[in-house]
Symmetry: none
DNA sequence: TGTATAATAGTCAAAAATAGTCAGACGGGA
DNA sequence: TCCCGTCTGACTATTTTTGACTATTATACA
């Protein structure tokens, strides 16, 4: 049921559980999963972005490689960088990345991550907005419904 | 005589007798019943609404899915009354009361309750607002900071 | 020492695989 | 007959997967 991309993502993350970086051959990995080479690039671009806390380096040519580095940071630095990243405006996707990252760093549980996402997804941001109370109603409704969804105990991995 | 919708409804409910949630492919189900894909959406909309005790989530694209979550009768009553109470506008105090209630009923943990409150308190509601992204930044900043506070493990008992 | 070749990786647009929306057709009961 | 719940089909939206083409680098060889 899991998409190919999800499997590849998990495979790489497993390699990163102990180490903070891993090096691999793009075409070997593609071969292993029986997919197009560019599929690997897709996974790297969508699942191992800087916003999600990873750096990717690579080299072409003979004995080339792809290196994936998990960014580690202490809480103070992380919080500062996230606040800066958020700034005064942020897209739904970027917000999702930040929340995912907090979850991967085990700062929040999956349920908490889902609640956070429910508070900031497009659906919660009712526009045009005319008052704080109206906005609050929209956000609150979203998080309350999410709380009920969580209570049904979702063990999947998506926010 | 509304045989088709009823059959699909029953089929899904049978899947939900043991589990509280089930995941399926819209087009596979439509194929199985030999009907239009949109028929499934009709069934979901008319038979698996919140009022009837269900929450529905889905994702498009490769390996997409439709997930149906069954909640208990008590939860339905509670959720309905909360949604009604929230309406289209709600004060900070009332919102807090609702969140506290969810916590007291053990639907959310203390950490989760705090995150929820962080998402809807006055500080998060930056007004006047000019865009969804600006609004999102404000709410997200608030919940991210709260996540760190939670992680820093506050042992107080107030939301 | 240059240069051709093989071995890598990257890019991008199109195709495939999903799901959602909505207006209108259809059909049975009040 | 008219209304209302069903059902369909065409069109849209989203996410993943692939393939053709490009770019880069190490190495072998002239």
């Amino acid at each position: 049921m899991a998409a190919l991309s999800d499997s590849i993502e998990q495979f790489i993350k497993d390699l990163l559980t102990d180490d903070t970086r891993v090096e691999l051959k793009r075409n070997e990995l593609a071969q292993y999963f029986g997919c197009a080479n560019s599929q690997i690039n897709y996974v790297l671009a969508t699942r191992f972005s800087v916003n999600r806390g990873y750096l990717v380096e690579s080299r072409r040519g003979g004995s080339g490689y792809v290196r994936i580095i998990r960014i580690t940071a202490n809480e103070v630095d992380l919080l500062k960088s996230l606040i800066e990243k958020i700034g005064s405006s942020i897209s739904e996707e970027e917000a999702k990345d930040i929340i995912l990252r907090l979850h991967e760093m085990k700062l929040v549980t999956l349920s908490e991550a889902r609640l956070m996402y429910a508070a900031v997804n497009d659906g919660a941001m009712s526009m045009p907005v005319c008052s704080k109370d109206a906005l609050r109603a929209s956000v609150l409704k979203n998080v309350v419904v999410q709380a009920f969804k969580n209570a049904g105990e979702g063990r999947e991995n998506a926010v």
